[in-house]
Amino acid sequence: MKFIDIVKTAIANSFRSKLRTGLTVIAIFIGAFTLTITSGIGTGVTSYINTQVSSIGAADVLTVSKTNDAAASGTGPAPYDPEKATTVSLGNGSRPGSTIQALTTKDLEAIKDTKGILGVDPSVQVTPDYIQHDGGGKFELTVNPTATLTTADLAAGAQLDNDSSTDQILVPTTYLDTLDFSSAKAAIGQTVTIGIRDFAGTVQEVPATVVGVQNETLLGAGAGLNQPLTDRLHDIEVDGAPEASSQSYATATARFDPKASEAKITAIKADLADQGYASQTVADQIGSFETVINVIIGVLNAFAVIALIAAGFGIINTLLMSVQERTREIGLMKAMGMNGGRVYTLFSTEAVFIGFLGSALGALVAVGVGSLVSNILADTVFSNLPGLQVVQFAPSSIAIIIGVVMLIAFLAGTLPARAAARQNPIDALRYE
């Protein structure tokens, strides 16, 4: 029997008992549908995160902070050490009320001396009071502390330039109306005024140029300031302050060789950890975020796979009944010189076809429903997260899902197919 005839016959056979095939197809459909949706959510969320932090700006930077050694629970508070700096509150984005040990100049020296570290800068966080444009109203200004490290998802304009001598600011799209800009494009190149209080409490004004408008992001909302502007504002903030108080920082950024290998970065981090500093690359910070999403998607996928395994037993059952029903036919085909291998192929092909039918329908419907729901969500629940399509479909992952389901179907079909191939023509023909 030619392969094409086997395929045609297998397809015809699977349509012979439509109800039974239909029910099995529904079981597979549910599994494939779930799997496609979860993989779509995975693709959608991951691609959103990737655009948020696309081409991670500073791959050669570690964010270093002091390991909180007092956190060891059950042992009570650590003895007082006058050498240790006071704790500082972390800026926005951290757990409310959480503090960490501040880094002192001594710590910065130690970090700088660590092997593999090329330079270290204390991260300064500034808290400006307001932002004003063209004599309009004054509005509160939130600063995104990671703006200098990441590449923003721009609506218009350019990225921040930390090496520039000009004071640059990146404003979120949500600021446009408030600051009375007609469009994102219109804001580029305009000057805004930032008000900030010095140590004595006097408000000083600093002009800054808008270089870009960024879409609202997941990782820290607010405006981005380039390094020169941050430094200038920080200088104002600590102006008139006693020497010591300006010398403690929550975190520092340490640079290493951009060509450093994964192993080398790990070594640097281990070295820092030995000295009592916790360090994270930008990739680590995003990675931990992605890990959470991957775990959620993994759990959903596990449920889909359980559904598929159940569907696999459906296939076994369907085909075993088929073999039982067609015992005579198998006997006849064998009596007419069809070999066992072909009979096996015939029944496995039928299983694979049922698998294909279920998974293709499941994937197709999932793509339709997923796109629809995703569009509705994007306009309603996620309307303040522009660019977020929760469910996105990659053709390759859909192909993989269909392939995997067909493989499961094939494996499920092997048992009945073997039973069919082993039939003795005479026993099969005698079967009543």
Binding site: G337, N339, I426, L429
Partner: protein, 239 residues
């Protein structure tokens, strides 16, 4: 002396084991020559069907040897056995074994499909076989919608479609009324006479057996020589 198409040498077959062991065939010898028609006659349970199954290579004997054109069947490879079943043998069964919801033509061309013949040639040869049995107008009907006689004619067309050397018929008229049975008998014997196809018929119908060149009577798994009347032609007529 020509080599017999099929030669059974003291073949035996038993089913089950231990106390359940049942010797269906206890040692039967038989030569079948090309072009003859032979009836295997016996009551039900006598072992006549078992003998036919062994001759048609559908089953393997437990003792004795079966020679196919002089070659021991045990030495034939699986592929060769399948080729023989597909191309040299045709089967007609009492229960027809037609696929009920497939068309008559699809049923008839099944051996060709198994042999890997192209669809176009399948159709041409299938239609030729159906025409020979005056069933061409029913080619597109579902097999289940045929009458008993039409079904048996379709089965004969299927047995014929690959131009076999031997047709094995197991109670070919068993499920048919007398008139229809007579028509089917005529078809089988005309194939034997006009095309020289060797005919092996298993039956308990003495009248049908009487039309064959030669009869083998089987009783309790052995050849019953006492019941053997002289045939119209002697066994050695073709030798």
């Amino acid at each position: 002396m020509t080599v017999p198409v099929l030669s059974a040498q003291n073949i035996g077959k038993s089913y089950g084991s231990g106390s359940n062991r049942f010797d269906a065939l206890k040692g039967v010898s038989l030569d079948i020559h090309a072009g003859e028609s032979i009836a295997i006659v016996g009551k039900s349970g006598s072992g006549k069907s078992t003998l036919m199954h062994l001759l048609a290579l559908l089953d393997n004997p437990d003792s004795g040897a079966l020679l196919v054109e002089g070659t021991d069947a045990r030495k034939l490879k699986g592929k060769e056995v399948n080729r023989l079943r597909n191309q040299d043998f045709g089967f007609v069964f009492q229960q027809f074994f037609l696929t009920a919801n497939a068309t008559v033509l699809e049923n008839v061309v099944l051996p060709l499909k198994i042999a890997g013949v192209s669809p176009r040639e399948r159709k041409a040869r299938g239609m030729a076989a159906l025409e020979q049995l005056e069933l061409a107008d029913k080619a597109k009907n579902k097999a289940m919608n045929l009458s008993g006689g039409q079904k048996q004619r379709a089965v004969i067309a299927r047995a014929l479609v690959n131009n076999p050397k031997v047709i094995f018929a197991d109670e070919p008229t068993g499920n048919l009324d007398t008139a229809t049975g007579a028509v089917v008998e005529d078809i089988l014997f005309s194939l034997n006479q006009d095309k020289g196809i060797t005919l092996v018929i298993v039956t308990h119908d003495i009248e049908l057996a009487a039309r064959c060149d030669r009869r083998i009577f089987i009783r309790d798994g052995l050849e019953d020589t006492a019941a053997r009347p002289t045939g119209r032609r002697s066994a050695g007529a073709h030798a």
